[in-house]
Symmetry: C2
């Protein structure tokens, strides 16, 4: 891996300090003569040099690395968030380490530990379990952390998220305005605080009546969507005039099951969901989606950790709300 500073020093006859100074661009600051600089630069141009960040990090106690733990990286929402976060990092010369917890608190804990061991400068976490409370004095010595997307009650970490409750309320209201007389809301993984909030928003708009039913399934998956649709169909009766789903996966499973058993999704059923997929627009149905702004979330998260790294910790329990967008696909003219 190219030469080390010591090797360059030895082979050019200068000291390590001198080499460090010109290689780190602080040559003029340390008044290294132009001639020396040129000699060193030429040497490096010829023989190459790759700084050993490990050594640098050990010395400076910074890793120029940030860690991100997501429940599932392949989930398009987290993948997009990560892509934007990585872009933020890259523009500041940082590097992003991303890990999945698979919604398993134990895996999450291990992932956090592993990142801490590597001395990440900060952590971004989309948690799958409540954070253990940390005493204030301990907190100040800790690696900066911000939580995204999900807020567990009692957690004092800084949170950056959409207002899931309000978004669900608006989505439900939009569905009702579009003419739905009875709705079913399919929810995967109802312990997830984001889903809890969405259910609350749904109830706030639709009430508790027979016309606003709620079905839940243990996890957030295509299979869960299928299972809930099966339950609904087995209960008999007409299909609801609107179907709401807590995620794209659930929607996908629900519609696929409908298509397979009933040969088609009724084109007059209003469909409402969270997160966007480009092919939703091609359905004949009225589709209303809440699209979260992954880029704004990523920027806010990056800003927050930058502030914390810089020592400007936000107050305990600060919540940052990032607006989402209500999108009408194929609304009736």
């Amino acid at each position: 891996m190219a030469k080390t500073i010591s090797e360059i020093a030895e082979e050019t006859g200068y000291s390590r300090t001198t080499i460090t100074m010109v290689l780190s661009g602080r040559a003029s600051e340390y008044r290294i003569s132009a001639r020396t600089q040129k000699i060193i630069r030429d040497y490096v141009d010829e023989h190459g040099y790759t700084i050993n960040q490990t050594a640098r990090n050990l010395k400076t106690q910074r890793s120029h690395t940030i860690g991100f733990v997501a429940p599932e990286i392949a989930n398009p929402f987290f993948a997009r968030f990560m892509a934007h976060l990585e872009a933020c990092c890259r523009s500041e010369g940082l590097v992003l380490i991303t890990t999945s917890s698979g919604e398993d608190p134990l895996v999450e804990a291990r992932a956090l530990q592993s990142l801490l061991e590597r001395g990440v400068d900060a952590l971004v976490l989309a948690p799958c379990a409540p954070r253990p409370a940390v005493s204030a004095k301990k907190r100040s010595r800790q690696t900066p952390m911000v939580v995204i997307d999900r807020h567990y009650p009692g957690d004092n970490t800084q949170v950056i998220a959409s207002d899931h409750r309000e978004n669900a309320r608006l989505l439900t209201a939009a569905v009702m305005s579009a003419g739905a007389s009875d709705m079913v809301f399919f929810c995967g993984h109802p312990e997830n605080p984001a889903i809890v909030a969405r259910i609350a928003g749904f109830r706030a708009a639709a009430g508790e009546g027979e016309n606003a039913r709620l079905l839940t399934a243990a996890d957030d998956s295509v299979a869960a969507g299928k299972a809930m649709m099966q339950t609904l169909l087995e209960a008999g009766g007409a299909l609801p005039s609107a179907l709401l789903c807590s995620s794209l996966l659930v929607l996908e499973g629900a519609l696929q099951h409908l298509r397979r058993t009933r040969s088609a999704v009724p084109p007059d059923m209003i469909i409402a969901t969270f997160d966007y997929d480009g092919f939703l627009e091609l359905l004949p149905n009225t589709v209303i989606v809440v699209r979260q702004d992954e880029e704004a979330l990523a920027r806010a998260a990056f800003q927050a950790i930058s502030d914390r790294i810089g020592g400007n910790a936000a107050a305990e329990g600060t919540r940052t709300v990032v607006d989402a967008e209500l999108l009408y696909l194929n609304a009736p003219a």
Copy 2:
């Protein structure tokens, strides 16, 4: 960040060596007495210890880190690949650093450099430009690298990819078997070797005639799909009986444009594309897709870098082909 080994040594009265031995689980190997072990374990249980991997890495010259550079992490294909690769890494106690190049060779080069500086144990790269040739003697000292998905001619790096040409040929043949009399193939980013191969496969199955048209656009995006569809519509004449697209993004743009200008996608048009999206199944059309096996690709890539790290470098220019699946969604009964 908890105590260091030196602190624990000092505070328990043992030496750094002894602490290291029990903390690294090699206590019995070094015949540390049970009593000493217990004292140290108890101390650590009470005060905590987080190993400093940076220091460890510097000493051992291994980082237990692997780097992945993708053209675009938010692309579901790469996101899924990355998720599987990360799972492989995690199961071996490694950590994955992922970066996007945005299809920019300069950004790609910087990303690789940055990972090299961090001393990653190996690199996985989905390249957006040909790799500069490296002399054999230099190669042996280098960080192990495998290339995925795309093979630039003349590149001697080990490649792991689907057989894009053959898959395209099979897909095209399937479309023809399904009754298509004339086809159009929309291709984004035709310099990408994977796309070059797909075009070759398309030609191999469909020939060069008027019934097998090819449209290309500079990049792989929804906008490119729209633009190509616009070009097609402006040329006048009937729509083709089959539309092939080089990626989901292109397909999405093409169909959205069709829907907006013609109010609907003709339900008898056969649609064929690469990569899978759950909502494709809901279209009334016959949809045929090539679904790549991201998990198998990730496993193969991980195996390859593990081999290389272990010193079992594959021969120069080795190509590993991972099978893809031809999937019929809503084929006519």
